[in-house]
């Protein structure tokens, strides 16, 4: 998303932003959902500052098309975790939130401001890509 070198810095930014915006939390969504939204905004802001274009969630086919055509033997070059890091932003976020963090599609949809259907399709495509990087 932003690289491990910046992750710690952004984590601090998220905490500070959350601290300062706490009074704007009105309880309309679950706190965790609101917190993720804050975190995503911080990350997107940082990416914008770094000139990294956001890949659109709504165009999953286009965003994922490139990765699905991996070169033969690529699965032996990188492991599962590395492959996860190479997923397009939208697919990776959905995969992490659903399969690693246990959120449901409707919750993810709210966090990422996408439809539940898009969340499902992004998850499936991410899994389809990652299955090629399982340990054999």
């Amino acid at each position: 998303m932003i690289g491990p070198d910046l992750a710690d810095e952004v984590t601090q930014d998220v905490f500070v932003r959350t601290w300062r915006k706490l009074d704007s939390f009105r309880g309309e969504a679950a706190f965790g959902t609101w917190l993720h939204r804050v975190a995503i905004n911080v990350i997107l802001g940082r990416r914008k500052k770094l000139g990294i274009a956001r890949e659109r969630f709504v165009n999953g086919e286009k965003a994922l098309g490139g990765l699905s055509q991996k070169p033969p033997g690529a699965e032996t070059a990188i492991d599962f975790e590395s492959a996860l890091a190479t997923l397009p932003e939208g697919a990776r976020q959905v995969f992490v939130l659903h399969d690693m963090e246990g959120y449901k599609h409707d919750e993810i949809a709210e966090m990422l401001e996408i439809s539940s259907g898009t969340s499902k399709s992004q998850l499936h495509r991410a899994r389809m890509i990652l299955r090629d990087y399982l340990d054999r």
Binding site: D8, A30, F31, M100, G102, H124, R131, L134
Partner: protein, 233 residues
């Protein structure tokens, strides 16, 4: 390999297909080894994801945060150390537990705690001040409050509640479940500390009351969680 069912395999895996769709897909799987193989791989991806560990920060982030929000950085918040416990629980397969229990079970557990609390107070009072009606010679030995009994009964009540956790798991959103888990972890830590202190000083009235109070807090917290699921009112 790419038929109409291929793109539905994740939904099947996650239990999101209708009963009719599921039957159709299962019939297809019986005849399509490629889809069966893909489904098996998707299962492995999901299993692999479940054991991936969060990457902790490379440095202690709290001093920098404390400086920016204008508080003392002398001591890291307890939540940071609790995080390690949370990860341990997650690795042990406890990270995604949900809570569901019946009113009778909660009532039974509540009664158990009330009885235990009352019993503890009774034993304390007996140990602390013999009454006029009780000749000292006839009094039972000033046995320490049976903390193990308290713990055993309490654990049994909690275990009974937790054995049916999965029943209403979809009634709470994930963020709420996480908050519940983290709060229970904090309460469990307090209970553990009280139990350890009690082992060192079994006659301490304060520690006994503190232990029972913390246990009651956990039970009340579980009761509130149950109310949120709609399992009890």
């Amino acid at each position: 390999m790419n038929d109409i069912w291929t793109d539905r395999l994740s939904e099947y895996l996650d239990g999101e297909l209708s009963a009719e769709e599921r039957r159709e897909l299962e019939a297809h799987l019986a005849e399509c080894p490629e889809c069966s193989a893909t489904l098996d791989e998707l299962r492995r991806v999901v299993a692999r994801a479940a054991v991936l560990e969060d990457q902790p920060p490379t440095t202690d982030l709290w001093p920098g945060i404390a400086e920016r929000i204008g508080v003392s950085s002398g001591e890291a918040p307890a939540a940071l150390t609790d995080l390690d416990e949370y990860r341990d629980r997650k690795r042990a397969g406890l990270g995604r537990r949900r809570f569901a229990f019946t009113l009778p079970q909660l009532a039974a557990a509540s009664v158990a705690l009330v009885v235990l609390s009352g019993g503890t107070a009774w034993l304390m009072s007996r140990a602390a001040r013999p009454t006029e009606s009780e000749p000292p010679a006839a009094e039972a030995p000033a046995a320490p409050v049976p903390a193990s009994f308290v713990s055993t009964e309490y654990d049994a009540a909690i275990v009974e509640l937790e054995q049916i956790l999965a029943a209403n798991r979809d009634q709470l959103d994930t963020a709420t479940v996480r908050v519940i888990e983290e709060n229970l972890m904090i309460i469990d830590r307090a209970i553990g500390q009280a139990q350890r202190a009690l082992a060192q000083d079994p006659a301490s009235t304060y520690l006994h009351e503190h232990l029972v109070g913390t246990m009651r807090q956990k039970l009340e917290f579980l009761r509130q969680a149950a109310e949120m699921t709609g399992a009890v009112s």
